[in-house]
Point group: C2
């Protein structure tokens, strides 16, 4: 998606340790027009898939997910990183975050993910794919099925995308970062 | 907003301790059409205010905030509940959560809130108003100004709304819960 690639080259910043900082337009301050363009592109890319629900993880996935949901009039469920005190019947899995160097749990209420659901997963980043694999685990545990996974930015130099595609999952990323070596952003 | 009130009466659940559970359409599974209708109503209610930025707090505020931002083409900033390892120059304040019975910190990068910003704050719930007061503190510390605060649901039997309005803040809530006594939802 050219508009997104141009924006990454213009406003993205590369930090040491393979970190691409896009907090001025994607995951802290958000550009709503760019987000909407991303949502439209997800709709286009998954036009041949059938699904009845959008799933994401709080917090950065919520904006692109709700915009996709509002284009398609489909419910959007965001997995939570803490069990709310009012939630008593949920599915849980563990996700290891490389950036934060610790594991965290994600949960979904069983009422919102089940055998009748076919899911499109939307998130901001695909790197090692641990969050995506966590959601896949929740989908499998619930008896739901997965139609595809859409990411705004994929880091091709980490293994998540390759692993998910090798499992036969329909993965789409709107911008793919080939390398951040020497703190220079190279896009595919 | 009648559509929202009807939905609360139909799908909302009252739990002990003054808790209104709306996780099937607002803050876990989200109905994107209802969310969009809420966003349009916020635009209408704040039509006479001038602002250049939408601010919210992760996670449940992000969906209504990005929808308001996408209607008005204004940047949306979500305050974070943890300091990202890549954030080094931020404003911080403490928020006490009555539901969770503990304090947490919220942060905003200084690059995204400053003297040139006039802010519309959007969130899902107004109860004791502690999250709203936290954001007001961040706005004040940054030198920005506040145009108004919009909430999807306000609990009138808690003090947040009264306190914010007493300070002269333009507060709008799309549905106001008068009482949850005896686990019966009474809307204004």
């Amino acid at each position: 998606m050219q508009e997104l690639k141009d924006r990454i080259m213009r406003d993205g910043r590369c930090l040491e340790g393979g970190i691409l900082k896009v907090d001025n337009f994607i995951n802290h301050q958000m550009d709503p027009m760019l987000m909407k363009a991303c949502a439209i592109e997800f709709v286009r890319l998954f036009a041949n898939e059938k699904f009845n629900k959008i799933v994401t993880i709080e917090a950065s996935g919520i904006a692109p997910a709700i915009l996709v949901g509002s284009l398609l009039n489909l419910p959007v469920v965001f997995a939570k990183k803490k069990v709310p005190s009012t939630m008593d019947n949920y599915l849980m899995t563990e996700v290891f975050s490389f950036t934060k160097r610790r594991s965290y749990e994600i949960v979904v209420d069983k009422r919102f993910l089940g055998p009748n659901d076919r899911v499109l997963f939307i998130d901001d980043f695909l790197a090692n794919g641990n969050a995506a694999k966590g959601v896949l685990d929740l989908v499998n545990k619930s008896g739901a099925s997965l139609a595809g996974m859409g990411f705004i930015i994929e880091k091709a130099f980490q293994q998540g995308g390759e692993e998910l595609r090798r499992q036969g999952i329909h993965v789409e990323s709107l911008a793919i970062v080939e390398s951040l070596d020497n703190c220079e952003i190279k896009l595919r």
